[in-house]
Amino acid sequence: MSDKPYKFDESPEPTRPSTLKNNGFGEQDGTAYSEYASQQRDQYDDQLNKTTADDGNDYQDGEPMHKSGSVNKPQYKTKVKTQTLDIAQPKTKLPQQVSEDVWEVDVNKEGISLGAATLGFGVVSLIGFFVFEAYTTLAANVSEHPIGTGVLGALLVGFVSCFSFLSFKEWRGYKQVNTAMEDAGVIRNLLVNKRNETSPQKIDRVLSQHGKRFSRGSYAAHCFDRYKQQLQDDMTGPERLGLYEDTVLKPVQDKAHKVLNKESVTAGSLAFISPNNLIQTFAVIWISFRTIRRMARVYGLRPSTAGNWKLLKVLAQNIAAQGVFDLATDEVANQIGGSLSAKFMENSAEAIAAGALNARLGRALIKLLK
């Protein structure tokens, strides 16, 4: 940007006034030069009068032609047209502040979730049927119960609808993961071939499609918003990809690893304090599902509960491995005697195993979603 205001004019910038008078000249010198310059001006102005009278040259008004009688001041045709607008200049917003990365895996949801509504409708319907049953029993002789039947019917419809919608969402979640994985493949290819000039429009299209799939409130969506805010119209395709990598892919990956570490520690702790193998297995299953859910919140993609067989396979393998490990540690503990230290060792080993297996599940999930 300019560090000096320019004059917007049809002609080039006006001549800056001479500083001769203020340049530290001795009085005598200044006078001498001024006299000379004054004589010159008079001389050239005389010349100018003659010249204009002779050939009608078109000089600018008010411009003393004291420079030369032979060299004309250059005149230029403007290539810029300007018009005044009757609106005020819009204010530019300050960019988003990103110093505080406050996104958390678990956010307090406002209102009632769809799952809770489904459960609620189910319970209410069940109760309603019981009540209806009781009511019909009590009023066996009353043949018409329009209001009660209507309400119970409505509750049942609600339950069926919500249940259907939930099923649809599960199916869509599953499809979404597969599409996102395909998108990720395209983005990976673009990143690999970053040096090849790909049009910014194509890259924008791919990245926007990928960004749209992030569920609302997820960390990936939060990062994608930040990416969009930092995007500038003069960025080239590779620069856009680089920015996407810096503001979305890398932070999401880092966050996923952080969440996974935390979950693995929790899995280990639960395994350590579990009094028996059954509770331990339930704890491992619960923490595994929680890991999947939390990681999915980071990536903005929710692999449907029944959808992603790969994850379930890993989960099943984990449970089996945990079981085998339990047997092995039990056997080792029996061999070295049933002391407290042996129990402690057994639990510690199981905790480490649970943590490691949970990390394995998380890594499989990261591999799937990244």
Binding site: M1, Q83, L85, T92, Q229
Partner: protein
């Protein structure tokens, strides 16, 4: 006992942390010296002001600016501070911000300023962060008047050589109009009389008047530029000189030749040599700022002259990548990366910026030819230190607030992508943009600075 152990543990930990800090400060320091070269009015001071504002806002306030600057990830920046450089006056950043707040553009640089930007980065490597918890990236910037730059090529010339070439230059191109009064003055000047102090002053001041007039009218090749500034340490009033007609310079016994030759030698030894040694040599990264609007605002001839001036400018520097040995043992820096930057790029519509970049590439041809056979990385950039314009009603228009406070829209005909395409007798007047009241947000919205820094700081990769 337990308390004593705790105290001892705390002390040991504090000492370890202090040692780590000191070790980091001593060993984990990376210094980059930037010299920003540009002719007068090329936007050097504004670029510095924006750069400091952007980096400070990014590290201290967390604003998401400079998105392409991957070298300094915001998550790793601990703090940033400005320090003076020994031997230089501190850069008037706060004064410039105050000027902007008062609706004035920063004043043109009339003396050399220097400052260091020290960015402290968090060490992320798991083991290293316990020993050396942080690393410092030090940017050293030198800002100096553009008028001085044009004088450096005079170092390699004799007075006669310089005088003849200067005389030839002012007799051709767009400057001939502005030089006609000076030439007429010389033609009437009586060189038969002895060169007294007063007569020399008379001649020098007449020449200086031409320099001032020509500069105000977009002429870039003006020597000696140092005569234009009162702040130059060289006493041009006492030791001034001017180009003389070849009838005098060809006679080495002519008293006017003798005195000007003597003054020219003094100018070289007392002013240019120390100037080159102190500012221009100790650098490893060079940014050459080019104000293409200075040419576009006037004519094709002005653009050709800008190209010639840049070509001369390239002589100023010692090109070639410095090695560890030459940098640390011989203490000799050589420029390894050069960025040619067209400033004020927001003054043209986005649709015309590709043409502007192409024009910049052509303007720098001569300068680039100087390091054709050297391992120098160079790149061209369009930069706007402050986004003062908004998008117009179509892709060839921009909107801005002019100095009369009106919000106006300017529609551009296509900017020439080559010098040849610049239509003779036509020009692109530069919008007279006022300082916007939301200048901070517009500085942070400035474009190209991140790309430029990433290129200069990146480890050899072409970004």
């Amino acid at each position: 006992m337990q308390k004593n152990i705790a105290t001892l543990f705390d002390k040991t930990r504090a000492m370890a942390s202090l040692t780590g800090d000191k070790l980091s400060s001593a060993f984990n320091k990376e210094t980059h010296r930037f010299t920003i070269t540009g002719l007068s009015r090329s936007g050097k001071s504004m670029l510095f002001t924006s750069l400091i504002t952007m980096l400070k806002s990014r590290s201290e306030e967390g604003y998401a600016c400079l998105p392409l600057l991957r070298y300094l990830p915001p998550s790793q920046v601990l703090d940033m501070r400005i320090e003076p450089i020994e031997g230089y006056k501190p850069f008037p950043h706060l004064q410039n911000i105050t000027d902007l707040e008062n609706g004035q553009w920063p004043k043109a640089t009339e003396e050399a300023f220097g400052f260091k930007l020290v960015v402290r980065l968090k060490e992320t490597a798991s083991l290293k962060r316990h020993v050396l918890p942080h690393s410092d990236v030090v940017f050293e910037f030198i800002d100096y008047p553009g008028e001085w730059v044009t004088d450096i090529p005079m170092l390699s010339k004799t007075y006669a050589h310089w005088s003849d070439s200067a005389w030839a230059q002012l007799s051709s191109g767009p400057q001939q109009y502005f030089a006609s009064q000076w030439k007429a003055f010389v033609n009437q000047f009586d060189f038969e009389q002895e060169p007294t102090e007063q007569r020399i002053k008379l001649l020098v001041n007449a020449y200086r008047d031409y320099l001032i007039d020509a500069k105000a009218n977009g002429i870039s090749l003006l020597q000696p530029g140092s005569f234009l500034l009162e702040s130059s340490d060289f006493d041009w009033q006492a030791f001034g000189f001017t180009p003389l007609p070849s009838s005098i310079t060809s006679d080495v016994s002519h008293p006017w030749f003798k005195i000007f030759d003597k003054h020219f030698s003094k100018f070289q030894s007392r002013w240019l040599t120390p100037l080159k040694q102190s500012i221009f040599k100790e650098t490893d990264k060079q940014i050459i700022l080019v104000d293409l609007f200075e040419g576009l605002n006037h004519s094709r001839q002005h653009l050709y002259q800008l190209k010639e001036t840049l070509s001369h400018l390239a002589d100023t520097f010692v090109y070639g990548q410095s090695t560890w040995f030459s940098r640390n043992v011989l203490k000799k820096e050589q420029i390894g990366k050069v960025a040619f930057v067209a400033t004020k790029s927001d003054l043209v519509p986005v649709s015309q910026r590709a043409n502007l970049l192409s024009l910049l590439t052509q303007i720098t041809e001569g300068a680039r030819a100087r390091f054709d056979d050297k391992p120098i990385q160079f790149e061209h950039f369009l930069v706007s230190s402050m986004q003062v314009t908004d998008d117009g009603s179509n892709e060839d228009a921009i909107r801005y607030q002019d100095t009369d406070g009106r919000y106006v829209e300017s529609m551009f005909e296509p900017i020439p992508s080559t010098l040849k395409e610049m239509e003779e007798g036509s020009h692109f007047p530069v919008p007279d943009v006022s300082v916007p009241s939301d200048f901070k947000a517009r500085i942070l919205a400035g474009k190209g600075v991140d790309r430029l820094l990433q290129f200069l700081l990146g480890k050899g990769e072409q970004e």
